[in-house]
């Protein structure tokens, strides 16, 4: 590595100079008078900047790769909730577990992280991934296990008393075995989409968000991935972040034609839905991509 060589270079140069120019009575009693050299200064400034620029580019490229799940891959969604002092997992298929996370080999696993109390950080050294789990927000992280086995994970953000015991293991298993494992649901565990539909029903969302009647809210079928135009003329392609904002802060961006007195008629659901409910609801809304009329 470049940096290792740089360190060795500095040590070697220093050692050589100290030995070569050591004080020797009668031979080397005063230093040579060399005040400096602008050419040398400019030279090593540019060289350092260029080398650092190269390292930055490499690092940024690797970082950018981690920002988005590669296109066209099967994705396993898992909700990860950190709390003092344990990690709770909820699979897309509905199974829940604590301290152990089963994942399929060869598929992209996308974790949605949140916290019930303080900041935690989900860290899997073997996969070179780490992401803080913040209360009141969801962050995401993805990885792909390539070899079956167990990989330890830990909490990397100090979170109080038992922080050092907030550890566990990822069990990577062949995809078929994982699918079979996922089917062994405990009573009460429900696939996320179904759970989300229950949240949707429980809060009577369909009263307003209905396809067929002339209701006060936009319909939700096929929403994700579609362009939305807002009251102020701005527009974006609906994604998960937009859905989240619409649920928590409906007036932040109101779809054109749906504003009442400049605001959304919908109340905010911030503080009404728990993190899990919100995750389930958003998961459900994403499944409405190609559906018609399901939101009744």
């Amino acid at each position: 590595m470049v940096v290792g060589l740089a360190t060795l270079g500095v040590f070697a140069t220093m050692g050589y100079f100290v030995w070569r120019y050591r004080y020797r009575p009668g031979v080397n009693e005063t230093g040579r008078d060399v005040p400096g050299s602008t050419r040398l200064e400019v030279g090593w400034t540019i060289a350092t900047t260029v080398v650092f620029g190269g390292i930055f580019a490499l690092g940024a490229a690797g970082f950018a790769e981690r920002q988005h799940v590669p296109a066209g891959r099967d994705v396993e969604d898992v909700l990860v909730v950190g709390k003092q002092w344990m990690w709770k997992f909820q699979h897309g298929g509905g199974r829940r577990e604590i301290a152990v996370l089963h994942v399929p080999v060869g598929r992209v696993v996308r974790l949605s992280l949140t916290s019930e109390d303080v900041i935690h950080s989900f860290y899997v050294p073997a996969f070179r991934v780490k992401q803080d789990a913040l209360p009141g927000r969801t962050t995401t992280l993805w990885f792909e296990a390539t070899t079956p086995g167990t990989y330890p994970f830990a909490c990397a953000e100090y979170c109080g008393g038992e922080h050092s015991r907030m550890v566990g293991q990822i069990v990577a298993m062949p995809a078929e075995a994982y699918d079979a494992w996922l089917e062994h649901r405990e009573p009460g565990e429900m696939p996320l989409a179904a759970a989300g539909r229950e949240v949707f029903a429980r809060h009577d969302c369909a009263t307003c968000h209905d396809t067929h009647a002339n209701k006060p809210a936009p319909p939700l079928e096929g929403l994700v991935g579609r362009r939305r135009v807002f009251e102020d003329g701005a527009a974006l392609v609906a994604d998960e972040a937009y859905l989240r904002e619409s649920v928590l802060e409906p007036s932040a961006r109101v779809v054109a034609g749906y504003a009442v007195a400049g605001r959304s008629p919908m109340p905010s659901y911030a503080g009404v839905l728990t993190n899990e409910e919100l995750f389930e609801l958003l998961y459900y809304l994403r499944t409405l991509k190609d559906a018609t009329g399901v939101s009744r």
């Binding site: 007036s251 109340p267 905010s268 911030a270 503080g271």
Partner: protein
């Protein structure tokens, strides 16, 4: 033009003359002011983000504040800054009684400001407009937002008021010293005090529109 009071006894170690001492005190105070700008700056960053994210909450909160009273408070501080300029002028001219008088006027205006502030706090607390300790106990999102606004309000005006209190104490001490008049206070020190006092004024000039004028029109 009246004569500058430049007695050699006004100069303190390690300075060589009054001009030297003045330049150093002025620089020192401006370094201190730069520091205060960042100290209060943190609160304004908080305010700016909060207002950007919840403009309605800030507007509603602003309407709950007393604009006429705050306008009077602003005027009080501005006039006190003016009297402080006259106090510094008296000190520079070596006019001891003028110094004592103008400092006293400045101090009284500052106390008047604090009295209005105290009345305002009392009013808001009595009306339940306080930062709520537990947001989950808030019955609605609106109520929660208002609690946050009043958290912002009390912290911003509170830190400003603390600075006023500090200023009043030093002003009172200096005014008494000038009134007793055994020795004329160093005018460079009065100048430093003046800079501090104007700074407190400047901070309020931003607090006033940020909080009080946010809710109207």
């Amino acid at each position: 033009m009246a004569e500058l009071h430049a007695d050699a006894r006004l100069v303190r170690e390690p300075f060589t003359d009054v001009a030297h001492q003045r330049a150093a005190v002025s620089l020192g105070m401006w370094v201190f002011i730069a520091q205060e700008v960042l100290f209060f700056g943190v609160l304004f960053v908080w305010y700016g983000l909060f207002r950007a994210q919840h403009p309605d909450v800030v507007a509603a909160g602003g309407r709950a504040l007393d604009v006429p009273l705050a306008t009077v408070m602003t005027v009080t501080l501005l006039v006190s800054s003016f009297t402080m300029v006259l106090a510094v002028r008296s000190a520079m001219l070596g006019a001891r009684r003028g110094l004592a008088g103008w400092l006293a006027a400045t101090g009284l205006l500052a106390v008047a400001f604090l009295a209005m502030k105290a009345w305002e706090y009392h009013h808001h607390i009595a009306a339940g407009e306080v930062p709520v300790v537990d947001l989950h106990a808030a019955s609605s999102v609106v109520e929660a937002g208002r609690a946050q606004f009043f958290g912002l309000y009390f912290v911003m005006t509170g830190f400003h008021a603390l600075h006023v209190v500090g200023g009043v104490l030093v002003i009172a001490w200096r005014a008494l010293a000038a009134a007793r008049g055994r020795e004329l206070p160093r005018w460079t020190a009065i100048m430093g005090l003046g800079l501090y006092w104007h700074l407190v004024d400047v901070v309020w000039l931003f607090v006033f529109p940020a909080l009080y004028l946010a809710g109207h029109a």
